[in-house]
Symmetry: C2
């Protein structure tokens, strides 16, 4: 029997995605679920919904709250945290790498390292150099992976992936799907995994 799958839609610029990226492999393993990594770009989805940027920027009150909440949430989960000096950070090169290598065994480690750069080290993550730095540090063939990921085919796949996010009703990140059931937000990761387990026990 295949392990039940949890689709994990996330954006490297999204702060609550950061928490889920750091947590998901361990939590999914404990639940006996398989993570399907679905990196996408939240910016075009926001624009399709009529928002020019993150709601945390558009709505000052919610934004102010979010940064306090992030401090507390990271403390709760035992994660390091530094509010990025630029938000939300665009992250096209790392997203291309993550999309082109979503089924590699090192995908989780790659995503955690990129998130750490953004939300702990406060580094710009929107350029090819950062991606090569991460891949090299992981002992991977950085140049070859980068050339593959920036081919026109993968550029087109990223546009398709982001369009699919919008079509499936995604309006924020992280979002989890278990089958057709959608769960929004890091706060719902446990519920999504509980649903995974319930589906598996029905089979």
């Amino acid at each position: 029997m295949n392990a039940p799958a949890i689709e994990f839609w996330f954006d490297f610029g999204s702060n609550y995605s950061y928490i889920s990226v750091m947590r998901i492999e361990q939590e999914a393993a404990a639940a006996g679920a398989r993570v399907v990594w679905r990196p996408f770009l939240l910016g075009p989805v926001f624009r399709a919904l009529g928002w020019s940027t993150s709601p945390f920027v558009l709505q000052k009150e919610k934004g102010d709250y979010t940064w306090k909440d992030m401090q507390r949430q990271c403390r709760k989960y035992g994660l390091p945290w530094q509010r990025p000096s630029s938000f939300p950070r665009s992250a096209v090169p790392p997203t291309r790498i993550a999309l082109a290598n979503a089924e590699q065994p090192w995908i989780g480690e790659f995503c955690r390292r990129v998130m750490q750069l953004n939300f702990v080290d406060d580094r710009d993550i929107d350029h090819a150099g950062i991606v090569q730095e991460v891949l090299q540090a992981m002992g991977l063939p950085a140049q070859a992976l980068w050339e593959q990921a920036q081919s026109e085919a993968w550029r087109e796949r990223l546009r398709t992936q982001t369009g699919m996010a919008h079509q499936r009703g995604i309006f924020g990140a992280p979002t989890f799907f278990v089958g057709d059931e959608m769960f929004w937000g890091n706060d719902r990761l446990e519920d999504a995994l509980a649903y995974c387990r319930a589906l598996a026990s029905e089979r």
Copy 2:
């Protein structure tokens, strides 16, 4: 030593407030915390933020998701649930009663009954009759309580209460305060109570 207090800001028309109203007395008792009931009107707060109504109405995708989420959340908490045929319901008379009687021992029971009418029985809760029905069913002097609550003094207090919500940075309901620390959403009730306990142990 006084028990630490959790301020509970809620609106009778707010669906996530429904879940917290049903849960808070039991959870706070388990945490050794005292609930300070702060009913207010979310509508004027939304308008002060530039929104004409609930974000769940303004943003179709988020709204569609919310109703699925409510079904799952209510199942998780063991609460009955029926999506109201009108949303968000205005609830001025019950809010006036709740405000004027926020320190009565029956406040929790009153709020749960009003929430049940809205989110389980799908009844209009924006009129004096419903309030009298609830108060009578609880064996309380309905007419006297209603006359007091609709005095000009309490009307003014409700405007002040709602203005205070906005001034304190509230942008949704439920919102909890423990001292100056703000927690937004039913999902944060446990965190707010954990913070209460931490404060109490520091004293």
